[in-house]
Symmetry: C2
Subunit: 112 residues, 2 copies
DNA sequence: ATCATCGTGCGAAAATTGTCGAACGATTGA
DNA sequence: TCAATCGTTCGACAATTTTCGCACGATGAT
């Protein structure tokens, strides 16, 4: 039972800052990254249950090609996880800082 | 001698991560930010001596409106500096991490 | 085998962004 | 005053990105 879908990922040293920043500059993708950071590996559909599938594929592909996430096929679904270690090795603290500074999604007022 | 040109800047708490990341995701603007980090306040024309003025204005305006730089008029020129403190207060370590990870990128013709 | 579900690729349309010439006002120096 | 320089705005165009319907192959369940 060979893996049906094979995904291309950039090597650690191929991950480029501009592409990562661009990937994270989209609020929708940033919320996806936040969910991935909180839940670990998730089914792709959880990242956007209300989105058209082709739109979801577009964003997950962009995140994958920029080196932000790792994607693997599991049966007919698609599991996605954040490349924490690779990103941390390449750009220490970046993801934490970005996610920490992105509270504006929820209308919660809590600033210290 | 009232200041001729007045520039609008977002407050510190108005600086939003997606806009900052988008501003930094452009290689040209990222190289501008690096120059600003190295030299401090610089004349706007130093950020792109070979660029058409309107293109230069476009990028500096985007950097200003996203909260990355502070712009002030000095005579007929335009001085620009990085909002180090504000960015550090809002997203600790972000600029350092980004600039640190952008050294090995293709040195187009900016590095001299 | 049949059918429903999932992700992907294709293609097109809409929206956003980047580039840049031209005109304009402001400033500086002569 | 006059001319040169600078930054901005406007407008148009090119390039990129986003959205999404559709058809297709693969997978899992009946």
């Amino acid at each position: 039972m060979a893996p049906a879908r094979v995904y291309q990922h950039p090597e650690v040293d191929e991950i480029a800052i501009p592409r990562v920043l661009f990937a994270l500059s989209e609020p929708l993708r940033l919320s996806m990254v936040r969910m991935l950071a909180e839940r670990g590996e998730v089914d792709s559909i959880e990242l956007g249950p209300d989105l058209p599938r082709s739109t979801l594929t577009h964003h997950t592909s962009l995140l994958r090609e920029s080196g932000v996430v790792f994607v693997r096929a599991e049966g007919r679904k698609c599991l996605i996880r954040l490349r924490d270690d690779d990103l941390e090795a390449r750009f220490p603290g970046l993801i934490d800082t970005v996610l920490n500074g992105y509270q504006e999604a929820a209308p919660t007022q809590e600033d210290a």
